[in-house]
Structure formats: structure tokens, C-alpha cells
């Protein structure tokens, strides 16, 4: 574990480092002025709806403490929904309601939330209790995603999501993040979540890693990762690639969840995607980024960007041309 390798070895493996990511990718391709488009979840959602990009439906926005008292009326008619701060991070302040019983609401765990508790939660959100830096925030109410059961064998707590790194409109790498008991329901690889590298061509699992080391089976469910394949893969890649046009940012991480009926939905867009995806995929990003630059793909149509990426980054032996 505590082995160091020479920088030349990492370079040969095409691994993108943090400094190179910050200097050559983020500061070049992600203009500061567009950051609010991804940091503000409400803005992301509104932009996406305008662009026809699939997101969990927005039920309502609560901007001021005055609106809190009208909360019950606005929620009438919805039985499952999510209330989240627009500037929250790491899932803080996200209240998930899966059902209602009269005036009371039920969390997925079965815990009961009464109207007063919900109003207090929204009021706290508006005061900035959950937002970065404690700034006053806005609460938004959106549809509860009905998660596809495609991954039920691979998740214990929390929701598996799919992270696609999109470089200049081309999906270059993808992984699925599965929370484990060890990660305490969090999908953060640092904390023991499992990262499953996905084949860009098919959406099939390439390999899975936990704590930086390859594993064969899910540590909690014992399911073998070899059978994992993400459904509606092409649709999902196109969805992620379209986020570049919407955000005008050249290097983003798109977080996607699969809804039972609606299919892939954009949950969040990250302007500073981490590097762990390389570990999950067992591949360095640099050659792929270079390929996109060399091909001049950023000017191509959405369909072409996605299909070219699918054939280029395929892990199937037949398509790999002379590279090893």
C-alpha cells in the first residue's frame, strides 16, 4: 500500500494529477462566471428544464421565511418529494419524504415528520444552516426519484449514482458509486464507498475498487460486479454530454441517477470533478483528453461526440486498436 512510484510511471499511465486538473483543465475550460450555473442547484435545474435535459421535476421554490407558512398548501397533492438547499453540499439538509399519512410525512426509514418539524427544517435551510459558508439560502422542492431496481443487488444504503466526466462535450470516463455499510451510506470513495468503473461503450462494469484496491464482489451484498450493467446507457451518455452545452463548461462531472420510469436524470453537475474515477476505471484520463483535443470533437454534434467516444473508449478487445 505505502509504495511510491516514479512520476514518469504515472505519466506513462496517463494519469491526471490534481495540479494539472486545476491549471490545465478547470482554469482553462471552466470560466468562473459560469460557476453559479452548477453551484446553485436551482439554477442548474432551471437551465436544464429550459434545455430539455431530464432532471427530477421541480415542484416549488421557497425563497423567504414568509413563504414557509404556505408550505402545506404547496405540498398538497404530492406524496413523495425531496426538499433540499440550493447551495448545500454533501447531502446536508436534504429531506427525503417518501410517503404521507394525513398531515404527517414519512421518511424512507419510516420516521415520521410532522408539519411543524418540516416548517422548521425549511426555515433553517433559508437561514443558511446547511449551505456553504452559512449564507442565507433558498429551499427547493423536487420530485422524489423512483430509483430503478437495476442496482438493487449492489446497494445497501443510499442511492447509487453514476458519475460521468465530460470533457468538451465528450463523455470520457464513467463510474458508479455505491455506498457501503463501511462508508456509512455516503457515496464518497475516500470514506469506503465502492467505485465501479464503467465501459463507455456499453455501460458494463470494468472493475470495482474499494479503498483504492480492486474487489470482485460488493462487500455487503456479495453480488458479483461482473453482471453489473447500466441500462439505457446511450441515453445516459447523451444526457451527460448535453450538460456541456448547457453549462458552457469544458470539464465537468455529471451526476446521474436512474428513475424507474423516466430513465436517467441529472442530479447535479460538478465543476471540479475528482480524480478517483481514474482509480475506479483503472485507466488514466490524459490519453482520452488528448484524443478529444486531437480529433477536434468539441465542434461535432452531440450524437457524433457520444458515438465516437463509445467506439474509441470501448474496453471490448475487438475495438481496441493496437494499444496496450
Amino acid at each position: 500500500m505505502s509504495r511510491f512510484v516514479r512520476p514518469s510511471a504515472l505519466r506513462a499511465a496517463g494519469i491526471l494529477g490534481m495540479n494539472a486538473r486545476n491549471v490545465s483543465l478547470i482554469s482553462v475550460h471552466n470560466p468562473r462566471k459560469f460557476y453559479p450555473r452548477v453551484d446553485d442547484k436551482l439554477q442548474t435545474k432551471l437551465l436544464a428544464e429550459k434545455a430539455g435535459i431530464a432532471v427530477p421535476e421541480l415542484y416549488g421554490v421557497i425563497r423567504s421565511q414568509g413563504e414557509v407558512s404556505g408550505l402545506q398548501e404547496r405540498l398538497s397533492g404530492y406524496s413523495g418529494f425531496v426538499i433540499k438547499p440550493t447551495h448545500g453540499s454533501a447531502g446536508k439538509g436534504v429531506l427525503v419524504i417518501s410517503d404521507r399519512k394525513g398531515d404527517e410525512f414519512l421518511k424512507p426509514s419510516g420516521e415520521v415528520v410532522d408539519a411543524k418539524a418540516m416548517e422548521r427544517h425549511v426555515s433553517n435551510t433559508l437561514s443558511g444552516l446547511y449551505s456553504l459558508g452559512g449564507k442565507p439560502d433558498v429551499a427547493m422542492i423536487e420530485a422524489l426519484v423512483e430509483f430503478s431496481d437495476a442496482f438493487s443487488d449492489y446497494s445497501v444504503e443510499g442511492v447509487p449514482d453514476i458519475r460521468v466526466v465530460v470533457y468538451r462535450g465528450v463523455p470520457v470516463m464513467a463510474m458508479m458509486r455505491l455506498s457501503t455499510r463501511a462508508s456509512d451510506g455516503k457515496a464518497n470513495l475516500h470514506q469506503g464507498a465502492v467505485g465501479v468503473g464503467l465501459d463507455i461503450a456499453t455501460g458494463r462494469a470494468l472493475q470495482a475498487v474499494q479503498h483504492g484496491l480492486p474487489i470482485e464482489r460488493h462487500p455487503d451484498t456479495e453480488s458479483h460486479f461482473g453482471e453489473l450493467q447500466v441500462p439505457r446507457w446511450l441515453e445516459l451518455l447523451r444526457l451527460s454530454a448535453s450538460c456541456t452545452d448547457m453549462t458552457e463548461m469544458g470539464y465537468i462531472g455529471v451526476d446521474i441517477v436512474l428513475d424507474k420510469s423516466r430513465g436517467p436524470l441529472i442530479l447535479e453537475i460538478n465543476a471540479r470533478p475528482g480524480l478517483a474515477i481514474q482509480v475506479a476505471s483503472g485507466t488514466g484520463l490524459l490519453p482520452r483528453l488528448k484524443w478529444v483535443d486531437d480529433q477536434g470533437l468539441h465542434a461535432a454534434s452531440l450524437e457524433e461526440r457520444v458515438s465516437r467516444a463509445m467506439s474509441e473508449f470501448s474496453a471490448e478487445p475487438a475495438v481496441v486498436e493496437g494499444a496496450h
Partner: protein, 509 residues
């Protein structure tokens, strides 16, 4: 790529400017590159005593000037009972004291601090003589004098060689008959010098007496000694009285030159001038700064050294901060240490400079540790951000007081220095670590907290290197170089040291 070109240009300019100014200060102004370099300095004090006639008194006194081997750094009058001012007449400085209603014995002092400095050149005296003084010699002596002069003139005709030969002939242990006759009974150094001046004037070359003092340690009640000065046609040249070599003797401070008087006294009588000299060791840097101020060298005149000492000390600390930022940038971008808060380690390191490292570390860990426990309880109360941090600040201050009092009662003085920690920073550290703990787990909080502390210790150790402290304060222009390096690191795209380990499993060998 024009962005890279711009950066390269700026970096080059900064480095050239920073290093250039540093080298200029070293070579041209004499700033030592290493701390602790010392220079021998001398203090010469003139004591002028006289009896007042009982009323207004005015004393005018010739003052020394720097020479090619001695540099005057500082000079001052030490007689508060008199009005003092320095005047320049014919380019020669004089001290003038004025007093009213003085009675009885009076004493005034004048002190000069000089050191053997490189690169100092005295204003060469190029004022031509008004004519050759006809020496006032009795006819009997005149004949002998003419003999001596013509004898020596045969050997050397140019005025410098002639003067050297003449002085040597007068100083010889076994002088020739004519010389012995001319010297007569009094053959002390000063009368020999006066005779040499007479003879050189007789030869047709203008000559005169200059007077000064030889700087030696612990001399008291000295008189000025005389030197021969000869007009070479372009300038007045001094000659050593013993060897006759052209040039001033070592450590000889010229005090009175040409026709000026040493002392003019109005309203008094019975004056006496004595000198005492003292050697002292002074830090070269201090002398150089004095010299720079005297010369109005812009780099010194508009520098931190001209601020009051108090402010200078603050700057001493402030000038170290860029070194701290450089260490932080290196640790974060090149090594890849995760710290909580970018520049928190620097502020902690500055606090360590006041508390000493070990006690600082212990107190930091104690305060942050207890703070975290209390903060963990506060988080259960679901407080808003600003009240929550305010509460933590209050807790930190209570902890400060508690640690101080407890350690004082236990007889540990170090505990009292806890107040040097910036409390707002401590509160924020507790807040950040606590949030980190909740969101990313205890491991991440310990990694980042430990990282911050390790970087803080490293920053402290770097800031404490005497050479670093000295260089940042003596050559603030080196900060331009630090800036350049920081800018370059801003474009560093190489791997971090920690990434060489993080991604190691991906490299199959």
C-alpha cells in the same frame, strides 16, 4: 500560450529585479549576505575646555571628513548647554557652539563614529594653493636647508618622490649633518613634519600641514598629530610621517586640513583640545544602514530601516509571512498535504514564534481538543452559523483563561503565552474541523488537522532559521523572488508527492 509567456516574463523581471537589488545592496552598499558579520568601528571624542570670560561664548571647531580608508558614520555634539550647529565653509565642515552668560570653566564634546569601510572615498582636496609659502628660516639655516633640498632634488625631481625622500631623510635614524643641524634639539615627529613642509616649500612645491588622529583603542588625552601634504599639481597628497610613503597612515582620521584653524574661541581663553579614541565592534549591517542614510542611498533612505524600531520589529515578523506562504504552497501543490484552511498554518506558526514550539503545540492541541468536544455538543443544538461560531469564540476565550490560570497555578509559565494564539483563528479551526468530522468522518478530520499542524510546524521551523530571518529583513527585495517562485508554482502541473502513492496501484510493473 501567451499566458505562459506573460508569466515567464513577469517571473523573469521579478527575479532579475529581486536578485539585482540584493546584489546591488551587497556589493555597492556593503550589506553583508550573512547575519552576524561585524566590523570594527571607532569612536573619537574631542574634548574642548576653556575658561569663559563671563559672558557670551562662541566656539568654532574644525571637523573631520571621511577619507579613502575611514568612513565617518555618525557624529554629534554632546553639550546640551550650548546651541549647536554644523556649518560648512569652503566645503569644510565646522562645529559651532554658542552660549550666553557662561561663567567659569566650560567643556564641550564632539564625537565621531568611524569605521574602516570599503568603497568610501573622501572628497579629494583639489583646491589649488594660493602660492608657495616662503619659509621663514634664519640665514644660517637657509643655507643648510638649500643644501638638503638641492641634494635631494638631484635624486628625484617629481614632487611625490622628492617628498618621500625628504621625509625619509628627516626620519632617518642616522641623519646627515645638515639635517641634524636643521632639526636642532627638538626632533619629535611634529617638528620634523613642520621642517619637511618648510623644505618642500623651499624647493618650490607648495606644501602644508594637515592634522588628524590615529584611531587606537583606549587612547585618552591625545593631541592631533601632523602630516605633510604636498600639492602634486592636481591635488593635495598626504604622506605618512614615518615612512614617507604617499597616502594616509592606517586608521588615520584627518581632522584639520589646509589653512583652517582647529579652534576659534570668542569670549573665552585658556582653551585646550584633547582627543580620546575607543574601538568597538558593531554589526556590519547597522553601520551600513547608517552609511546609507548618510549618503541618502534611495534603497536605504526609503526602506524599513527608517521606521521606528517598534514598527521595524513588526515588519520583521510580517516579512516572514511570504516565506510561510511559500512553504504552504509547496506543501499543498508539490507534496500534496491536505490542510484545513489555506493559510491557517501560517497564523499558527506566527503564534508558535511567540510561545515557543513545544508549549505552543501542546496548548494548541489542548484548546482545539476541548473546543471540539464542546463544539460537538453545540452542533446538537442546531444553531445558525454566526451564533455558533460566536459561541465557539467565547468558548475559546474561556479556554484561554482556563489554561492560563491553571498552568500559572501549577507553576508552568508557558501557559500564560496561550493568548498569543489568534483566537478567531482557533475558533474557525475548531469549527472547520468539527464540520469536517461530521461530513467526512474522523479520519479526514485527523488527516487535515494533522496536516495543518505539521505544515504549521514546518512553517515555524523555516521562519526560525536565522539566515531566513536575516535575509528577509535585510533584503526585503528578495520577496520579489519569493513572489516569482510562488507565481511559477501557480502553473505547476506536475504530480503531487502524495499522488505518487495514491495512484501507485494503477501502475502495473
Amino acid at each position: 500560450m501567451s499566458e505562459r509567456l506573460q508569466l515567464a516574463t513577469v517571473v523573469t523581471i521579478l527575479i532579475v529585479l529581486g536578485l539585482g537589488l540584493t546584489l546591488y545592496k551587497h556589493f555597492s552598499l556593503g550589506f553583508p549576505l550573512l547575519p552576524g558579520e561585524v566590523t570594527q568601528a571607532w569612536t573619537a571624542e574631542a574634548r574642548i575646555s576653556f575658561e569663559s570670560d563671563g559672558d557670551d561664548v562662541e566656539v568654532s571647531f574644525a571637523l573631520p571628513q571621511s577619507s579613502s580608508t575611514l568612513r565617518i558614520l555618525d557624529q554629534y555634539s554632546a553639550s546640551s548647554a550650548y546651541q549647536f550647529k554644523r556649518v560648512e565653509t569652503d566645503d569644510r565642515p565646522r562645529a559651532v557652539w554658542k552660549g550666553e552668560g557662561k561663567k567659569g570653566k566650560q567643556v564641550v564634546y564632539y564625537q565621531v563614529v568611524a569605521f574602516e569601510g570599503q568603497g568610501a572615498s573622501r572628497p579629494i582636496d583639489r583646491v589649488p594653493p594660493t602660492g608657495t609659502d616662503k619659509p621663514d628660516l634664519k640665514p644660517a639655516y637657509l643655507a643648510a636647508a638649500k643644501d638638503v633640498v638641492s641634494g635631494l632634488k638631484k635624486k628625484a625631481s617629481d614632487p611625490v618622490a622628492f617628498a618621500t625622500n625628504l621625509i625619509q631623510a628627516l626620519a632617518a635614524s642616522n641623519p646627515d649633518e645638515n639635517v641634524r643641524f636643521l632639526l636642532g634639539v627638538s626632533s619629535d615627529a611634529n617638528s620634523r613634519t613642520r621642517l619637511a613642509v618648510d623644505l618642500i616649500n623651499l624647493s618650490g612645491t607648495p606644501a602644508r600641514i594637515a592634522r588628524g588622529i590615529s584611531l587606537e583603542d583606549g587612547r585618552r588625552r591625545e593631541k592631533l598629530s601632523d602630516l605633510v601634504e604636498v600639492w602634486t599639481g592636481r591635488q593635495w597628497q598626504d604622506f605618512a610621517p614615518d615612512t614617507g610613503e604617499p597616502g594616509l597612515p592606517d586608521r588615520f582620521l584627518l581632522w584639520q586640513r589646509g589653512g583652517e584653524s582647529l579652534l576659534d574661541l570668542v569670549g573665552g581663553h585658556g582653551s585646550r583640545v584633547t582627543f580620546s579614541t575607543l574601538s568597538e565592534i558593531r554589526g556590519t549591517q547597522g553601520l551600513v544602514i547608517l552609511k546609507g542614510e548618510e549618503e541618502k542611498a534611495t534603497l536605504v533612505d526609503f526602506s524599513i530601516y527608517t521606521l521606528p524600531i517598534n514598527q521595524q520589529n513588526i515588519f520583521k515578523l510580517l516579512l516572514l509571512v511570504p516565506i510561510g506562504t511559500l512553504v504552504v504552497v509547496l506543501m499543498r501543490s508539490v507534496v500534496g498535504v491536505r490542510t484545513s484552511g489555506t493559510f491557517m498554518p501560517i497564523l499558527i506558526a506566527l503564534a508558535f514564534k511567540q510561545t515557543e514550539l513545544l508549549s505552543g503545540l501542546i496548548m494548541f492541541i489542548v484548546v482545539v481538543g476541548i473546543g471540539l468536544v464542546i463544539r460537538a455538543y453545540l452542533s446538537r443544538l442546531n444553531l445558525l452559523l454566526v451564533p455558533r461560531i460566536s459561541a465557539v469564540v467565547i468558548v475559546v476565550i474561556i479556554l484561554f483563561a482556563g489554561v492560563s490560570i491553571a498552568s500559572y497555578k501549577l507553576g508552568i509559565e508557558a501557559g500564560l503565552t496561550v493568548t498569543f494564539f489568534p483566537m478567531i483563528i482557533m475558533a474557525w479551526t475548531i469549527e472547520r474541523m468539527s464540520v469536517l468530522w461530521e461530513e467526512d468522518g474522523a479520519r479526514e478530520a485527523l488527516v487535515q488537522g494533522g496536516g495543518s499542524l505539521a505544515v504549521a510546524v514546518l512553517v515555524y521551523l523555516t521562519m526560525s532559521i536565522p539566515l531566513v530571518e536575516y535575509l528577509t529583513f535585510s533584503f526585503p527585495e528578495l520577496l520579489l523572488v519569493v513572489l516569482a517562485v510562488t507565481l511559477m508554482l501557480g502553473h505547476y502541473t506536475g504530480y503531487r508527492l502524495t499522488e505518487l502513492r495514491r495512484f501507485a496501484p494503477m501502475v502495473h510493473e
